[in-house]
């Protein structure tokens, strides 16, 4: 990510939104935890956090900070975790880089009671305009890669993601959109508005169990 918006205390706003969804003292798995910023933030809130990270540098940095992080791949390694191992499984800004987003989401809902997913919204007006008027693949501050070298292979819009949630039987407990300045869009708005003006989205999901 380029210059991401930061909130009070210097934490990334999207991470603060994610962290606010996590209950105190919960057991959390952060899939694609990067350098461990979210895990550290959660640790200050009494959360028992674990992480998975693909890049070796990220992992080693996290472990050297005392975080419980393993080197692994969201696409292949979630299958090793038992059912209900965590209260929350978090996928922060990583969904679009997985090979099988649907399978990953299904595993998250299997491993955790809740899943939290944050992702860049490909339905944002700026991205639509770049394709419509510029005729090229969109690039933004948050998505700076050229099409031929981007790790992001499965973009979706908020609308697309909502459809995936229906497809995998996830209940949407909470959804938050962040605007281009990283601010939370608090007003109650229809989906089409969020899909057009939200640059990022954060969803809190849970399994639609038989008792739910």
């Amino acid at each position: 990510m380029a210059e991401a918006a930061r909130g009070p205390g210097g934490s990334r706003v999207d991470l603060l939104v994610v962290a606010d969804m996590v209950e105190r003292g919960a057991r959390v798995l952060d899939v694609g935890c990067g350098d461990g910023e979210l895990l550290r933030l959660l640790e200050t809130r009494g959360v028992d956090g674990r992480g998975i990270e693909l890049s070796r540098e990220g992992v080693n940095e996290c472990v050297a900070k005392g975080l419980a992080v393993i080197q692994g791949d969201a696409d292949t390694d979630l299958a090793d975790y038992p059912n209900d191992a965590f209260d929350f499984v978090i996928l922060s800004q990583t969904l679009q880089a997985t090979r099988q987003p649907r399978v990953v989401l299904e595993h998250m809902l299997r491993i955790g009671r809740h899943a939290i997913v944050s992702f860049p919204n490909f339905g944002h007006w700026n991205i639509r305009l770049q394709i419509l008027l510029g005729g090229h693949m969109p690039r933004t501050d948050n998505l700076p890669y050229a099409w031929y070298e981007t790790p992001n292979i499965h973009f979706c819009s908020i609308k697309d993601f909502v459809q995936l949630c229906y497809a995998v039987g996830a209940r949407m407990d909470q959804a938050v959109a962040l605007n281009a300045w990283g601010r939370q869009m608090r007003l109650k708005m229809p989906w089409w508005f969020w899909n057009l003006f939200g640059e990022q989205a954060v969803f809190l999901l849970s399994r639609r169990g038989p008792t739910a």
Partner: protein, 396 residues
């Protein structure tokens, strides 16, 4: 060396096995070590070293487990070779396993030859070294003996257990056998079971020892011989497995040793040959051939899953221990896939685990060498664990 010298070597070896330059605890014959082989072994002797100080709460003890050819002399001059300890980069004041903060204990394993009961120790019944009459021991036996030592020292629970290779096997066995006694576990370059390839390498080493006519069916002490050639060949073969193709190439390439052209003979023309011969010769000065047989055997038998209904995860189910598993990219003896299998089992058991793979071309031996990333990870992991355990930080 002349034969007279090798007899002196053997006398020294026996003295080190019975009266080591170390702390020693001799358990009474009524307090035997129960072995997996079905034998109650007594009297048991354990030689060990300690570094740092045990705190009043007895909560800062770190058990260091040594590898196949290591011993208890972690950070002091070796009494036989005069060389520095084998893990001075990792253990000591200000090191990742900081002896200003932790009380470090390292026992010689059962079956070893530096003062813990082993085939070079004197069998009280005969007055001669046990030789092959010593019962076959396992990694679990080593860990049981270490638990007896801790009981003797009055240490109920360990802050951490750390070790590489065979030491890492002991770490895993500790967490499986005594989960309530291990707060943090650091298995480095280890595996939950010895692979077929590794058993094969060990078998070549054992056959080299046993093919030496001076081995005499393991009774070389009594017969005044010394199977140094066989043991040296075993060491040379094993040493290759501890390195990597890239490391050998970087260190030696095809360079000649003290000459510009090949001699058209079987001299050590190449530097790599000379290096291996040196490794073999120096090893036999400090190690017992029968011990080599016993300890390689113990590693071969190691298979945690076999003890837990075929699933390693069962060994760690409900374990309160926090783990940090570390592997090295160029280690082909205990490759990263083996460490990953440990991690999968720990995840399946719901244990708290970190896992890092360190990029290096130094092969399996990297855990003993200067690897700054390894030190940073061990330091960070232990600091996180110390905070969770409520151990005070070192005074600045």
């Amino acid at each position: 060396m002349a034969d007279a010298n090798s007899i002196v070597d053997l006398a020294d070896r026996r003295r080190e096995a019975d009266q080591p330059h170390s702390l020693v605890v001799r358990f009474s014959p009524n307090n035997p070590l129960q072995l997996d082989a079905g034998v109650d072994f007594a009297p048991l002797q354990i030689a060990y070293q300690t570094y740092g100080a045990l705190n009043a709460e007895r909560s800062n003890a770190v058990l260091v487990c040594h590898a196949l050819t290591g011993d208890q002399h972690v950070v002091n001059e070796h009494p036989v070779t005069g060389k520095p300890g084998w893990w001075e980069t990792m253990v000591g004041p200000g090191r990742p396993i900081d002896t200003e903060r932790y009380f470090v204990i390292c026992p010689n394993v059962v079956g070893g030859c530096m003062g813990s009961s082993g085939p070079a120790s004197t069998n009280p019944a005969s007055g001669l070294p046990w030789g092959l009459d010593f019962p076959v021991v396992t990694v679990r036996d080593m860990v049981r003996a270490q638990a007896m030592l801790l009981d003797h020292l009055g240490i109920e629970s360990l802050f951490a257990v750390a070790g590489g290779s065979m030491g890492g096997m002991q770490v895993l066995q500790w967490a499986a056998s005594y989960p309530q006694r291990v707060f943090a576990a650091l298995p480095i370059a280890a595996s939950t079971r010895h692979s077929a390839q590794n058993i094969a390498f060990h078998e070549v080493g054992r056959q080299a020892v046993m093919a030496d006519p001076e081995w005499r069916g393991g009774r070389y002490f009594a017969e005044g011989t010394n199977p140094r050639r066989g043991l040296a060949v075993a060491r040379m073969g094993a040493h290759i497995t501890y390195l990597s193709d890239a490391a050998l190439h970087r260190k030696f390439g095809r360079r000649f040793q003290d000459r510009d052209n090949p001699t058209f003979s079987f001299d050590a023309d190449f530097q790599v040959e000379s290096y291996l011969r040196y490794q073999g010769i120096t090893f036999v000065e400090r190690f017992d051939a029968n011990s080599y047989l016993y300890l390689t055997r113990a590693m071969d038998y190691f298979d945690l899953s076999a003890d837990y209904d075929g699933a390693v995860a069962n060994a760690f189910r409900g374990a309160p221990t926090r783990f940090c598993v570390i592997s090295f990219t160029s280690d082909w003896l205990f490759p990263t896939s083996e460490s990953r299998a440990i991690v999968h089992a720990l995840n399946a058991a719901g244990a708290r685990v970190s896992f890092a793979e360190i990029t290096t071309d130094k092969g399996h031996d990297a855990f003993l060498l200067d690897e700054p990333e390894l030190f940073a990870i061990v330091r960070g992991f232990l600091e996180g664990a110390a905070k969770a355990r409520g151990l005070p930080a070192v005074k600045a």
